[in-house]
């Protein structure tokens, strides 16, 4: 019995310790721990990125970044939490590609990614690679497009979810190249890979860390990567853009955002610290190993990027009829 109540107390104490204290803001920022709200469950790539960057930045700022996982509703839940938080620099959002897609995918996402948030810095991006299964006899993107053109509506591709980036990346290619490939949605990326390996679907946009070992083993073929420049992770694969579709870019990106109204000095301070973190060669290599390409960028560049992403995905969502409600 004593043992049990002891456990209870321990848990209560832990629960209390996790609660951020509402200490009064003082003139020097930061003077308390910073909540970094991540719209994904712990353990995945996005969470790891936040933890690596947050830990390094925390050391420099002398305050801890507390990663708060707030998955759900395609990232909308996390965005709403941060939007409603005080704009004092102590609550930040890991904004990502889904937040810009969400602007056109949902009727009422509950926030406006451009109006309600101040972009601070883009932390990293992951390109997809267009891969084809064992039954598809093409070696380049051009050949794939020609094959698809020769039999419209016959080829199939898998995505890890309706309205997700691996779905819309293909929809964008379809409308750019003028081809018809049938969409087979899955729950998550693992079953897509299984059916691609088994030859039940013809193509899919896969993440590089998942695809490269399979390509090297000869189980599937990689045709082109979706980033604007070649990815450091797969430098021998051409981009979609250089394969005949200039301007094509479809990546999963992650950045740091603050609620609107956060003082400019705080934004500037955070940008400076995180820019230092992502240009550290050790951290950059660590992120690359986990599938993230990292480039230096200013807050203005990131803001312009968020704006162009929002516009780009709105067009693709419209064309693909991915919108649900």
């Amino acid at each position: 019995m004593k043992r049990l109540t002891g456990w209870l107390f321990a848990f209560c104490a832990m629960a209390l310790a996790i609660q951020p204290h509402a200490v009064q803001a003082q003139e020097t920022y930061p003077n308390q721990a910073i909540r970094f709200v991540v719209p994904f469950p712990p353990g995945g790539g996005a969470d790891t990125l936040a933890r690596i960057a947050g830990e390094a930045a925390g050391k420099q700022l002398g305050q801890q970044f507390i990663i708060e996982n707030q998955p759900g509703a395609g990232g909308n839940l996390a965005a709403i939490v941060v939007k409603d938080a005080a704009p004092d620099g102590y609550t930040l959002l890991q904004g990502n590609v889904a937040h810009t897609i969400g602007m056109s995918l949902y009727d009422d996402p509950g926030y406006e990614i451009q109006q309600d948030f101040v972009p601070i810095i883009r932390l990293g991006s992951s390109a997809f690679i267009l891969a084809v299964g064992p039954n598809v006899q093409v070696k380049t993107l051009q050949e794939f497009v020609e094959l698809a053109r020769s039999k419209p509506g016959e080829l199939t591709y898998g995505s890890s979810g309706n309205g997700g980036p691996s779905h819309l990346a293909m929809e964008m290619l379809k409308s750019t190249a003028g081809i018809d490939v049938r969409h087979i949605p899955y729950k998550g990326a693992a079953p897509v890979l299984t059916d691609l390996l088994g030859g039940r679907i013809d193509a899919a946009f896969l993440t590089l860390p998942a695809a490269i070992p399979q390509i090297e083993a000869g189980a599937i073929k990689g045709l082109a990567v979706t980033s604007a420049q070649r990815s450091m992770l797969a430098a021998n694969f051409p981009t979609v853009a250089e394969s005949g579709y200039p301007g094509y870019e479809a990546v999963t990106w992650f950045g740091l955002m603050a609620p609107k109204g956060t003082p400019a000095e705080i934004i500037g301070k955070l940008h400076k610290v995180f820019q230092g973190v992502i240009s550290d060669p050790v951290i950059r290599q660590g992120l690359l190993d986990r599938g993230f390409d990292v480039v230096d960028n200013t807050a203005e560049e990131f803001a312009a990027f968020v704006s162009s992403e929002t516009k780009k995905w709105a067009v693709t969502v419209e064309q693909s009829h991915a919108k649900a409600d």
């Binding site: 049990l4 353990g43 759900g72 490269i212 070992p213 190993d289 409600d325």
Partner: protein, 503 residues
């Protein structure tokens, strides 16, 4: 022989003092965490992952694997003692395990669970070592049509086994399907039954439903008898299983092991289904199916063996194909990547020490678990001697913490309260919860695979019979349906024949 040199290499790696230590720490942590309801291997591995960064790859993976199957073991403990499924795979353990505990056989139930898991673990390990690489082909051969037919077969089998009112069972299963369908539709992205609540957009987690229906409703039921000690906490009984109980457990353990092995290999089917399937098969082959749900030894031993066998064999697709069968397995792959090893078809040939070391450590881990758990049986059973007024608030708190840790969604805590109430009402109405749970688990998977199969075939229904695997399952299903109908017609005649033989 290749296999012996491989195993020799594996045991060489696993028996090194530091790897033995990592294995021990892993299973110990896993057992304790498995005992905490809802705090499953997924959360544990996610939290402990950074600890393994500094370890060599073999040590890291051996420890994480230890946590994984240790948690599968620990989950059965609370399921048996408190009707509290610690892991989704131990829900089935609740059904007969808890009834055994109520009859004063808690110690025996825990021991049988441990022994069954050990036998299953040994078999799973041997199978991976012998046939791991060829078995991976099975995982790739299963398509949407095959999954559909497999699950349809499971549903028909369950209907065939329904006890009591058939109409009640069917209604329960259908309600389960409806609740399982809540969330975002895979094909269209439409949100179904979410009523505008963000917490429902990703659907309702299995653990939430199971904890509410089993643990919470049991608490409510026990509190009916305020003051009295009618509940399981009163009797403890002899700790070790009797010879009779061991005999009853023998074949179910073997059958459960085979079932679990099969489902573990299929990515996406997983441990939960394997324990259900094992339970259904036991009920089917049992001479006295009416004992199920009232503390049948077979109803405990088979699913326990199945979920442990599945826990082991699910490493086959994960390691040899680089395809994670579950979220937990995805984390394991993440751990490999952090160690600089790309999971995929090359792991076995490029990192033989890692692959075979892990397999050997699984067998050692299972042995450690038995050594660890049999003496602990006495300790765990003592938990039942606690006054219930102390026990139930603790269970409630642990349930809430566990459920919250799955999705970090406060709505899930309200939901276990709702499902607790629903479970209580169902018990009062004499409705079985098992068909509901099965509908909840299988319904959405049947829908998803049916629609995917038709998307792939452009709406051509013959896809379900042109695939040989799918056709095989449909054939078996048809036989079961016929077997259900025919005896009903011939029942009288059979009884006459039987009388003639015995008399």
């Amino acid at each position: 022989m290749d296999i012996f040199s491989n195993l020799a290499l594996g045991f060489g790696v696993a028996f090194s003092p530091e790897n033995l230590l990592y294995c021990f720490i892993g299973v110990l942590l896993g057992t304790f965490i498995g005992v905490l309801p809802g705090v499953g291997p997924l959360v544990t591995i996610a939290v402990l992952l950074p600890l393994t960064f500094g370890l060599p790859p073999e040590g890291a993976l051996i420890m994480l694997a230890g946590i994984y199957y240790g948690a599968a073991y620990g989950g059965s403990t609370t399921a048996i003692l408190l009707n509290l499924p610690g892991e989704s795979s131990s829900v089935v353990t609740c059904i007969d395990g808890y009834q055994m505990a109520r009859k004063g056989r808690a110690g025996a139930a825990l021991a049988i669970a441990a022994i069954g898991s050990f036998i299953a673990g040994c078999f799973g390990t041997a199978l991976i070592a012998l046939a791991g690489p060829p078995l991976t082909a099975i995982a790739l051969d299963f398509g949407a049509a095959d999954y559909f037919s497999l699950m349809l077969m499971a549903v028909v089998f369950t209907a065939a086994l329904a006890q009591g009112s058939l109409s009640k069972s069917i209604i329960m299963a259908l309600v389960g399907v409806l609740i399982g369908l809540a969330g975002t539709d895979v094909n269209s992205g439409v949100r179904r039954f979410t009523f505008g609540a963000y917490g429902l957009v990703e659907g309702i987690d299995f653990t939430v439903v199971a904890m509410g229906l089993f643990a919470i409703s049991e608490i409510v039921r026990n509190l009916e008898h305020s003051g009295s000690q009618e509940v399981a906490t009163a009797k403890v009984g002899n700790l070790m299983p009797s010879r009779q109980e061991l005999r009853e457990a023998g074949f179910p353990i073997l059958r459960g092991t085979l079932v679990g092995t099969f489902f573990g290999i299929l990515p996406g089917a997983g441990q939960t289904i394997s324990s259900f399937a094992a339970y259904m098969i036991e009920k089917r082959v049992s001479r006295d199916p009416s004992k199920f749900g009232k503390g049948a030894v077979a109803g405990l031993a088979a699913p326990e063996a199945a979920n442990n066998a599945a826990a082991q064999t699910s490493f086959i697709p994960t390691l040899s194909l680089g395809i994670p069968g579950s979220a937990t397995m995805a984390l394991m792959l993440g751990a490999l990547m952090i160690q600089g090893i790309s999971p995929g078809p090359q792991v076995m040939s490029q990192h033989p020490a890692l692959f075979w070391g892990l397999i050997a450590s699984m067998w050692i881990g299972n042995l450690l678990l038995v050594i660890l758990n049999l003496p602990l049986v006495g300790l765990w059973v003592n938990m039942l001697r606690l006054p219930y007024r102390w026990l139930f608030p603790a269970i409630l708190v642990f349930c809430c913490i566990g459920v919250f840790s799955i999705n970090y969604s406060p709505l899930d805590i309200y939901l276990i309260a709702v499902f607790g109430l629903v479970g209580y009402v169902l018990v009062k109405l004499n409705c079985e919860v098992t068909p509901f749970i099965l509908g909840f688990v299988l319904g959405p998977m049947i829908e998803e695979n049916f629609r995917r199969a038709l998307l792939l075939s452009k709406g051509d229904l013959t896809t379900f019979v042109t695939s040989p695997i799918s056709a095989g399952f449909l054939f078996l299903t048809a036989i079961v349906v016929i077997a259900m109908i025919v005896p009903a017609l011939r029942k009288k005649k059979d009884e006459v024949v039987l009388d003639g033989e015995t008399g």
